[in-house]
């Protein structure tokens, strides 16, 4: 089946010689949920804008529903719902006017879903955009993005700047859509708890490349963190060369090494390899895994 979204070897830079994306490849299937993770500046938004046809890649190709988003912008946008990180809605118009515009643009507009969401969000259609709270404005943006029943929903940092209750409401709506429509969702987020809740597949961008691309549960159960006293490995290469090692960084007087595999087996392997005890291996929550994979070294004297 044609993937919903297909990135191949995407390259893009904004400053000469400093690629933001440096060969990013992955594809999304119908109904799949993918969480796009990465530090600020890791290229998540750039990648999303390339999928939307708003930016050209310098290398590689992107296909949405099998077509180029630049050559077929209208056809593709009819099938996508998109909420941008800094979604700007016309401040002077009312919610009703904005919805009328979208209904006009999208022939498949679902009036029942629209009323349902307006009720659930307690939105008054006559309110002007400029009088809405940040959370309400996000809800309006989401409503406009989903009422044409898109096959692919792209949410760029949808919870950015929302309070925890508003974030949870946003998530509830996304999950209800997932249940009802089976929509494929690509979302970028810094909120690891939200990523855990939406589940699916996790893609971690770092230094322009895909560092991890795995089902969330496989990631949580198939990867562990090893704490190794600094003195027991003179060089990080010793750990990096161990099969299954994904990353090593120094945190004060310990190496923090991320390994593929079970904690007990990994610990036994490291103990026999380094000939020391005092190694601790454990599964870690997604937030810790994120920090271990892309965080810098800490406590190192200059």
């Amino acid at each position: 089946m044609t993937p919903v979204l297909d990135f191949r070897e995407i390259v893009r830079s904004f400053k000469r010689g400093i690629p933001v994306l440096d060969g990013v490849t992955f594809a999304m299937q119908t109904g799949e949920v993918v969480g796009l993770l990465g530090r600020n500046g890791s290229g998540k938004t750039t990648l999303i804008r390339i999928a939307m046809g708003m930016l050209h890649p310098y290398g590689g190709s992107v296909r949405v529903f099998g077509q180029s988003p630049v050559e077929h912008p209208v056809e593709i946008k009819l099938r996508i719902g998109y909420v941008a990180e800094d979604q700007v809605l016309p401040p002077g118009s009312s919610i009703a006017e904005l919805i009328a515009l979208h209904r006009y643009l999208f022939p498949r507009w679902d009036g029942a879903l629209e009323r349902d969401l307006l009720n659930r969000f307690f939105l008054d259609p006559s309110s002007r955009i400029k009088h809405l709270s940040k959370g309400q404005a996000r809800q309006v943006a989401l409503l406009c993005a989903v009422c044409h029943r898109p096959e692919l929903l792209i949410l760029d940092e949808p919870a950015g700047g929302l309070d925890p209750a508003a974030r949870r409401e946003f998530l509830e709506t996304s999950i209800q859509l997932l249940n009802r429509e089976g929509t494929a969702i690509l979302f970028s987020s810094h909120h690891m708890n939200d990523v855990e809740r939406l589940g699916g597949r996790v893609i971690l961008l770092d230094e322009g490349k895909v560092r991890l691309d795995e089902e969330l549960d496989a990631l949580r159960e198939g990867i562990c963190l090893a704490l190794v006293p600094k003195a027991s490995a003179s060089d990080p290469l010793i750990l990096e060369r161990v099969p299954g090692c994904l990353r090593v960084r120094l945190v004060y007087d310990q190496w923090h090494a991320v390994f593929r595999g079970e904690p007990a087996a990994t610990q036994a392997r490291l103990v026999s390899l380094l000939g020391v005890s005092g190694i601790r291996c454990e599964h870690v929550p997604l937030e810790e895994l994120f920090i271990e994979m892309v965080g810098g070294e800490r406590g190192v004297p200059a």
């Binding site: 509830e172 939200d194 809740r197 589940g199 699916g200 997604l286």
Partner: protein, 140 residues
Amino acid sequence: MHYITGVQLLIHPADEVPIYRQIMRQITDAIAVGRLKAGEKLPSHRELSEQLVIAPLTVKKAYDELELAGFLETQRGRGTFVCARPPHPNLAQQRDQIRDQARKLLAQAYLAGMEYADVLALLEEAERSLQAATAPKESV
């Protein structure tokens, strides 16, 4: 919603254990202590996913694993139920885990200044309350 009468699920996304495992454990715990009884109906994937605000596939995964392990059964068109006869646990597999917990329990008790006999008394007390909770209800 009145589907699960004997178990209230709470999930913590930041836990070391993935959400589907948290659901599995809470359901098996509820069966073990008698809060969920044989034949009781569980919420559908969709209902539980919306109640807990987690992906429907996560609920499905937890239910599927519990069905495979023999704790739940799905009756087509009717829903998911607690099995009449829960499986005999694989003792060999669980012994290590329970030994580990026993060690932790003792360590905690000693730290609190208790004696071995106090811990035994607590265990017996727990045994009695478990027996009472899981005993089949007498028909009146």
